[in-house]
Symmetry: D3
Subunit: 281 residues, 6 copies
């Protein structure tokens, strides 16, 4: 008999054989409003057995691929910089083994750790960013490392015109105005995505999905629900579109199971991860 | 003074006068994931007083018809075959009295009991099946009687090309492939329904609605929420379309009030039942 | 140090400088089914700090306007007429100071108190009414003052053809039939709104939004969720359209936080209030 | 087949044969803080099937007695005096048929309706009152009819030294001081109950239990949980003690299922009602 | 990197080295009232990281012992006899390896599977049974295999005077009367336990704890909460007392996380399991 | 009209006149397990209107004293040291104005900020600490500033034999052993409190109450519920006992409203704060 193993459905392969490596970053230490995304990765793993490995949308099956699920990193609380270092090291290892890291949040700031590693491996990195929020503040409550500043910090690293934002519908006035000169910000929906995908053909792309890009009607299990979001079908099609690119790393963040009484948000997160894993194969 | 009576709104008629007979089948004994549909029929009855008897969609009123609500069958737990027998007997009685049975689930397997009775009365029975799931497994966790096998068991009885499935968006790969040769499976939505209705004009039809055909945004109170479902308006129109057929029996299953914290799922189930009752009159 | 102040985000101006005056009417004493809207105004105020003051839809910012938030009226329970008087007095004061009252419910009956005051100031008052329900009963459970009769009572005051109703999808048959001769009732959506706005140019308009006009998928936190409602985007556009009129008073009612486990309903209510405040400036 | 009947477990007898008559008073219209007791009687009836008819405490079984359950009165909201009249009439009928009314609340004010009827039948009526609160205010938010004034209104009818209060641990200072001269108020627990029972031997007694007399650890499903309450075992023993008296009517009020996520509060209410019904037989 | 492992805290040893073997039996298929105990074992494992491995009560630490956690059995739903066989086989294997099986439920019927195995190994088996319910029905809703009959079925195997029951406070009259001649039933608390422990010195004992023996105030997360139960401290002392015996197998059943909104029930279950594991070492 | 003010009940006095100054520290940034105490102070303030200002236990009334409620500090997330500085500064101001600071958490680490200020004012400071947990770790997940290390950090400042701990029932083995030489740790209950109060007569005492010292049956609304705690009555008496000392500052921490579905935990926290405020006057 062996000890109990728990992984995302269809991701039972061992590390060596796999080309994609999932891991959880259960951190929400800069979340200023409603916390709980620290429980996101665990919930996704646990509830994934409520969905199938087969996608009728893409006619593909997770059972045909080699994917490894490491489980969650053990992250501290109260020291943000140390958390980002731990994430960066995990991503370094995976990049160095020529695999694709797939991170499950946690809050959106965890993306910064993975992108720091990605940029070392792929200096010409581009970002595709699905989100309800701009995340472009210079600082938040006096702190420069925050879920609300994460894309600004990433901009510090990758520079102008490398960040392609979609679905954005909330932020301060000055964030929207700043974006006009520094990022490719698309409000409300995925208009402009096809064009971006054309532009980025063959280039290394890090793909970050903040699940609150979804409308709260379909995804209420998050800290800051923002009305007016995209539908599952729109997100699904956008993911399949992005899957045509050279995705070198990805993450999916901001599920907060505390606010998902019915389990529908966790279920949709599982399904999006399945479709994402299949779209990049 | 008389003892307290509790029925679905507008269904206070006595058995003899009624042409439609509602009853509950509070069973979820094969539900492998998240149980709770056993409480569905009771919740629907109790919460129905939050809606009106009048439908502004069909401009009809339940008060103009004769419908009887029996309440819930008393079903055992732990012996699936006995449960199905009890349901079949109840449906037998109603069919023999030349009335239309309308069953409130419970899980989807209860449909098998009613269909067994329906086929005895109408050997040429056709099935219209709204669902998120194929329900076409040969067995599930080693059992042949399961919510996940119910349409396959019904196929055992009615044979090829009698089952018309709509809204299907989840299942194993082999279920979808099997369906290509044995059922009329329509993925994701109600495309193809109009054609099916033409085909089935005048024939006896059993109509089974698994409420998880609805998108979880509108109906999260169910054991296995599947993103990408149909809307209330789409379902409503489909029900009115099906109402043109010779419906000899029907059911509405898989409401699990446990996962309906707000009550919105139970409320929509009540409204769908109202529209269904009106559409077949 | 000063005592703790709590207001709706961006509404910190003092009374004298403000042209709009918010106040809460935490009353649900005639709610027959599921109570809880008494907590609505408080929740909106408290959770408003989860949204931004800037609207990317209208490209306007609350920080550019002068709005005052009084907090909640202290209303009794059990004496409906007295509650209406207290609301009327508050509105009288605001009207007399040549400001626009903006009331947060509470149940829909509170609108009657504000309209009584509005009619004194603007005898030729028109009403724009967004709601799932007709609210046109003559009496309900024997009472003439009820959330289910409020538009009928308002009709008693303003007369025929002054009430313009949108999004209506629930009511008794006789209410719908009565409306044909006495109000401008538009079923299900905002078709007809543009025409009504043309008609009412320059006239004094009281604007009442029952939040259950929204689909329960987007707004489940209410006593009587009615499937088949409008979307946030549709409501937003309708509000911007109505904002072109001469709005002399407004309210937003029927948020019941008890049924909003995820907080998404309260969040959308905050956003709608923000857009409403910006649309009338 | 007969329409679905729903009664409290073991209370299926018909009206004529029964010596005790249960009915629900689903009213919480004066509840100023957290409403929801309107759902109490229905929840008790529905969940009673989770307990047994047999009491191992009293070694008695409900099946050995004749008890009738009428169901809930249909009460209006918004007109407190009319509600009290409807309750009084129901109690009048039961008293006139020489039976014992047993009312399930609802909020505590409903007791006033039943006591008005009781005093007509038994002019020398005494009251035994279990509660966390004094309920002795002269008025509350300007209203004299309120859950917070109910024992004061009953004092208006029965006069000094007729009300025996136990378990009281919350109220205004002046209520506690007023009680010293007008009622027999026992703080915190049931000390003094034995003495009161001796005093009241043979006299007609109305027995009212506000379930919030229980500690919130055992009974959190109520509008105003007050720490420091009595335990189930203490309440059980007190009920058995009171059962030695000539109980001419009784009620059990203030269960609010909204705040009872686990169902434990509703379950304890069911058990207390069972023990109460058995103790007076 | 290795796949994610999830075990009860402090139970990371491998199978060969361990003298105690934990496993989950996630089955609630005969639960007639409120299901959900199928999620019990998983929740206990997952939430155990909220407690410490050290017991200040016994001054012992799980880190000093060798315990293995297998995870959950994969059990079917809808075929009760097959479930019991699967459990029996798992227990057989553990007994044959001269280890102590420790099962986490699931509903109480799972105990029957383990006891069937235990009796094969230890024909003179005695049972210590902590529970709120007698569980001594001959059949329930027509079925002989049920959570409500489990101790009667065990009596079929072990015979008279081998079952020692404590904390019992709910059941049918005839169950209590039957127990007088066939089991050692102790009502309400642990009076009589010391005597039983003396009697059973040196004999093989199977120890089954139905967590609903606890008062619902401390443990509301269960299907059938029964007021008047024992406290954590009383249960802890009783477990330490029983730990003096020759425990050959044990289980802890009936946690239903669905009804444990706060997590306090799951936390207490974790702590009881820790104390139980330490008491038998 | 003035902007809406929200304070703890009975604490409406202005700063200058008051001898006690309440403020909230809404921080839970080092909480490793279940967050949410950041909402504690706001919930206490908001729900305090459900209790009375009068204590029947102490026969005192908040209306007779001068207490000021500042509201919540605006604290950042992600930078623990900055948070502690902000708290320390607030406490400094209050101490310098010769008033008593009363802090509402937030997690337990916030106490460190207040104690840093207190020690500057009262170098011979003693601590009375009510808690379920030792909080004596040297570091937690690599961090020295944590809710799990707070009393160790305070020991760094105040030294041996100055910390008096009561109700402790959870921690690592080495924490309990370390305490034997450095603090006055009393396990499980308040035995030893009377002696400590004698010892500390006249000395400056900072009083910190972690509400999880209460049994989870009475207080489940906290991140880490620990069975076997003290009762409200025991805590109340202990608070009155401590009130005899020279309390120079105090706090009450670890209410997490997220896990308090019924509101009973928030209600008991309000009552404890009332009793605490009255006991030190």
């Amino acid at each position: 008999m062996n000890n109990n193993v728990e992984v995302f459905i269809g991701c039972e392969s061992n590390y060596e054989d796999s080309n994609v490596v999932l891991f959880g970053a259960p951190f929400d230490g800069t979340t200023s409003y409603r916390p709980g995304t620290r429980f996101g990765s665990k919930a996704i793993r646990s509830e994934s057995f409520g969905i199938e490995t087969y996608s009728p949308y893409q006619d593909k099956d997770l059972e045909d691929y080699k994917i490894f699920d490491y489980g969650d990193l053990e992250l501290c609380f109260g020291n943000t910089e140390r958390v980002l270092k731990d994430i960066e090291e995990q991503a370094d290892t995976i990049f160095n083994d020529e695999k694709i890291p797939g991170m499950m949040g946690g809050e959106h700031l965890v993306t910064l750790g993975a992108v720091r590693a990605a940029v070392k491996k792929y200096p010409d990195l581009n970002i595709i960013h699905f989100d309800a929020h701009t995340d472009l503040r210079e600082e938040y409550l006096g702190e420069t490392l925050s879920h609300a500043t994460v894309m600004r910090r990433i901009h510090d690293i990758v520079g102008d015109n490398k960040i392609h934002q979609f679905g954005i519908r909330s932020g301060e006035r000055k964030e929207f105005y700043w974006a006009k000169e520094h990022t490719n910000l698309n409000k409300f929906n995925f208009n402009g995505l096809e064009e971006a995908v054309k532009l980025l053909q063959g280039k290394p792309v890090y793909f970050t999905i903040d699940l609150d890009v979804l409308d709260p009607s379909e995804f209420c299990g998050t800290g800051t629900p923002e009305a007016g979001g995209v539908s599952f079908t729109e997100l699904l099609n956008a993911i399949i579109e992005v899957g045509k690119l050279n995705i070198v790393g990805f993450d999916m963040v901001e599920l907060s199971p505390i606010y998902d009484q019915s389990g529908a948000s966790t279920a949709i997160a599982c399904k999006i991860l399945r479709e994402l894993l299949l779209s990049i194969q």
